[in-house]
């Protein structure tokens, strides 16, 4: 079979699975008992194996097969997750990544068998086999015990309403099974509601939950002791359902039996009597507790229950999803079937370009209609309609291109974990805002700069555990990665609670390197010194490590971010840590802008950075340190006369009122003095090309409706 046409898809999906595995194994390290995670890992490894096999990559298949075996044993509770095992698993992922890279480059997986890794995997397996016998021996014959306690079980106390009875009757008529279940949660369990939710979820994969006691609302609120009972309708065997429920961790036991119509009691009142019902359930608990205890033995290898498509679980699932917010984290890891289409980014680029063309054409139409003067009402209405359509078209195309930065930042926890081992420092990475969305091209390229900054924080920022202890800080250093949207920008912050930047050390180094003269050094402010760090060939690390310290980091970071029309800033306090702030524009192609006139030239200012527009009397302009400022709502705002900056003669005299566009960058404001306001316009940003990139205050150009080119002012660099 010729599989080359599937190569792209294979590579994409492999990457996704690998990323998923990385994330899941990391969380497994934190919570080795989490069955959901283990299942997810098992599934990802299994899919990887299948894909590699289909594509004919035998080595990859062998490795994933052995990984899958290990997970399968873990899942069945035969071996325990150990730190050593996690290490091996990570090495396996690295090896898989290597195969993937080889395949991407040469469509061949390479010749590395990774025999050592496979052997270690097998060692883990055989280590597990020894332990396996123990629980097996402890397992008494459970078969007989199964039916006996049925009468005393908690679920038999459930009283059914008329409607529920008819549902159950109907189900039995249709040949489905009705089971009653009683679940007992371990005494030590803290998040009972979450565990209960997981049980609900596990059961709902094969069955429909008709009624629960206590009610699902009470279970959600943790208003139950250790037991809860369910009546379910299912097409599968009782044992399968029981095993699914037992698969949830911290569940001590699950008992159940099939119910016949005559077993179902009619409630005296209607189904609202939940409070009354919880009492008998609790009383019956001890009985249920003793009788089926034997069943606690490990279940026979559970079949991956997910694969059995649930028949009618949907409404109940929705109820349950609402029921347990505490369990949200676990649900997120369960893959839902997405109705998505994979699209080549190039096609999206083409689409975006066409939308740009359309907007230029629309702008031309607007100005042509305005020029002709006698345009009728109908034409204007249609143009307005066209305008709103193009705007929403642009927004939709833009949204299509937006992806959460998650895909990029997800690899960082793993990286920090590796760094921790390599650098011998203790550190923890805290991330927030992974769901923040950015243009796909930006997300693809932001990874490297962020990685540099994180490594920088880990290597230069954080002190060693001993030093931290001495300084009265917690031994484990913290690195934070926060992303959030701020107006038309997305801000990504990398923060650490380490040593901060030693400006004196930076200054001395700069002088030593000949970047500045000692006299210059004296005159420089702290901020200017910190900015020296972005100079090429600058590194203050005393030892060059393979993590950072080659001096290629920060200048690359700066230029990469600037190439994305973003900017990077650093704030630091010696002894307390540093914050690196990356500010990126939300979109790269089309923005809403305010058109202004200065002299006889037209300029665009991005609407996103504009705070207000003010009409100022010349007498209101004050001088502070020989600089013009105005006071607005008790805030002193420096004025920037654009005609001076842009070297155009202003049309305004000194007596005329000033038109001031107040722009904002972070928390700084500035007032830009322009001659006239023209109006708001949706503009398509065109690059000025590398010939004119020297001019920092101009961030690009745009073609106006009449075919003229207007330049876009970058308010950020003006402030």
């Amino acid at each position: 079979m010729d599989v080359s046409q599937y190569l792209e898809i294979f590579l994409d999906e492999t990457n996704e699975h690998l990323q998923n595995l990385n994330t899941q194994i990391l969380s497994l390290e934190q919570d080795p008992e989490n069955n959901d995670t283990i299942n997810e890992i098992f599934r990802a490894a299994h899919s990887l194996k299948g894909m590699a096999g289909t594509m004919g990559y035998k080595r990859m298949q062998t490795l994933t097969h052995d990984m899958e075996n290990v997970f399968s044993e873990v899942r069945n509770g035969n071996i325990k997750v150990t730190a050593d095992m996690i290490d091996v698993l990570f090495q396996c992922l690295d090896a898989l990544e290597e195969y993937n890279t080889n395949i991407r480059e040469s469509s061949d997986e390479g010749t590395n068998d990774n025999g050592a890794l496979i052997k270690r995997l097998n060692d883990i397996m055989s280590g597990g086999a020894g332990a396996e016998s123990a629980p097996a021996a402890a397992a008494p014959a459970p078969a007989a015990a199964e039916e006996a306690p049925a009468a005393d079980n908690g679920f038999s106390g459930i009283k059914l309403g008329e409607a529920q009875r008819s549902v159950l009757g109907e189900a039995i008529k249709m040949g489905k099974n009705v089971y009653g279940l009683t679940v007992k949660v371990q005494e030590s369990c803290i998040l009972k509601a979450a565990r209960a939710f997981l049980v609900f979820k596990a059961i709902e994969e094969t069955s429909e939950i008709i009624v629960s006691d206590p009610s699902s609302q009470d279970i959600e609120d943790e208003k139950f002791e250790q037991h809860f009972s369910l009546i379910i309708v299912s097409e599968t065997e009782l044992e399968t359902v029981l095993n699914a429920a037992r698969g949830v961790s911290e569940i001590e036991e699950v008992t159940g039996s099939a119910l016949k119509p005559e077993d179902m009691k009619v409630s005296e009142e209607d189904s609202g009597a939940a409070e009354v019902q919880s009492a008998p359930a609790a009383q019956e608990a001890p009985a249920a507790q003793e009788a089926p205890a034997v069943q606690a033995a490990p279940a026979a290898p559970a079949e991956p229950t997910v694969q059995d498509t649930p028949a009618a679980a949907v409404p109940a699932a929705q109820k349950a999803a609402a029921a347990a917010p505490a369990a949200k984290k676990q649900t997120a890891s369960k893959p839902v079937v997405n109705r998505t289409v994979r699209v080549d980014i190039e096609k999206l680029d083409t689409l975006m370009n066409l939308v740009s063309e359309l907007i230029i054409a629309k702008n031309s139409l607007v100005s042509a209609s305005a020029m002709s003067g006698n345009s009728s009402q109908a034409v204007n209405e249609q143009i307005e309609y066209l305008e709103s359509v193009t705007t929403s078209l642009h927004e939709s195309v833009m949204k299509v291109r937006m992806v959460p930065i998650e895909s990029t930042v997800n690899k960082f926890p793993r990286m920090v974990r590796d760094l921790q081992k390599k650098l011998g420092k203790k550190m923890e990475l805290y991330m927030s805002g992974e769901e923040t969305e950015l243009d796909r091209t930006v997300v693809d390229q932001i990874g490297d700069p962020l990685m540099h900054l994180l490594r920088n924080s880990a290597d230069h920022g954080l002190e060693s555990a001993a030093v931290r202890k001495e300084r009265g800080k917690p031994e484990v250093g913290s690195i934070f990665l926060d992303a959030y949207q701020d107006g038309n920008n997305v801000v990504i912050e990398v923060r650490d609670d380490g040593n901060g930047i030693d400006t004196n050390a930076v200054k001395n180094k700069a002088i030593e390197r000949g970047v500045i003269t000692p006299e210059q050094g004296e005159a420089m402010s702290e901020k200017e010194i910190i900015d020296l760090l972005f100079n090429a060939g600058f590194s203050t690390a005393k030892v060059v490590s393979d993590v950072s310290g080659r001096g290629v980091g920060l200048d690359v970071v700066k230029s990469m971010i600037e190439s994305l029309s973003g900017e990077v800033e650093v704030k630091s306090k010696l002894g307390e840590g540093s914050t690196w702030t990356i500010r990126l524009p939300l979109t790269l192609a089309i923005i809403q802008a305010l058109m202004v006139e200065i002299g006889d030239e037209k300029y665009a200012i991005a609407l996103g950075s504009i705070q207000t527009i003010e009409d100022i009397l010349p007498s209101e302009v004050k001088l502070v340190q020989a600089k013009e400022v105005i006071t607005l709502r008790d805030q002193v705002i420096p004025l920037i006369r654009l005609n001076e900056v842009l070297e155009v003669p202003s049309k305004k005299g000194p007596e005329d009122n000033l038109v001031v566009v107040v722009v904002k960058k972070g928390d700084k404001l500035a007032g830009l003095v322009v001659d006239e306001l023209i109006g708001q316009l949706e503009i398509v940003i065109k690059s000025l090309g590398k010939y004119i990139n020297k001019c920092k205050i101009i961030s690009g150009a745009t073609v106006l409706g009449d075919g003229e080119v207007a330049l876009i002012l970058d308010a950020n660099t003006l402030i």
Binding site: L688, G689, K690, Y691, C695, E708, V709, L711
Partner: protein, 157 residues
């Protein structure tokens, strides 16, 4: 220089011909190898870009693309351009340096020169203008100075 193969003027095979567009700057005729020319457009409004070198006149809209325009007059140390009806912007497409326009006083004609009628120019350090040329061609209309675009268009503006 990495891109020194871009202008293979010295390597033009003997016996073959090369086409040049003849332009005028003042009274002098200059030739530009036709293979670098994408388009010739009429003079139009050039949007000035502040704070760039003097020879960069600004940017124009060429079928929706924003293209920088430079003045070879200023670059070669001649008098500044005077726009007339004959003024044109020649759009060059250079492999390494992208697309850009140059302002010329007039576009005269296309000439075909046999390669053996192109003489190398004797390098004269005193004549600044000679450094922008890569040869002299003889045609019926007189002598044509062949522009070395490599030298005219700065690599890093």
């Amino acid at each position: 220089m990495a891109d020194n193969n871009e202008y293979l003027d010295e390597l033009r095979p003997i016996g073959e011909t090369t086409q040049f567009i003849v332009i005028k700057l003042g009274d002098e005729q200059y030739g530009i190898d036709i293979k670098y020319i994408d388009n010739i457009v009429r003079m139009q409004h050039i949007t000035r870009v502040p704070k760039v070198d003097e020879y960069l006149k600004g940017v124009i809209n060429l079928r929706g693309e924003v293209i920088p325009v430079m003045s070879i007059r200023i670059q070669m140390g001649l008098e500044p351009d005077v726009e007339t009806k004959a003024s044109r912007i020649i759009i060059l497409k250079l492999e390494q340096r992208g697309t850009l326009g140059i302002m010329v006083d007039e576009v005269k004609e296309v000439v075909t020169l046999e390669n053996d009628r192109i003489d190398k120019i004797a390098y004269d350090a005193k004549d600044e203008r000679a450094s922008f040329l890569c040869g002299v061609g003889k045609s019926d209309g007189g002598l044509i100075s062949l522009l070395d675009l490599n030298a005219v268009v700065p690599e890093n503006l």
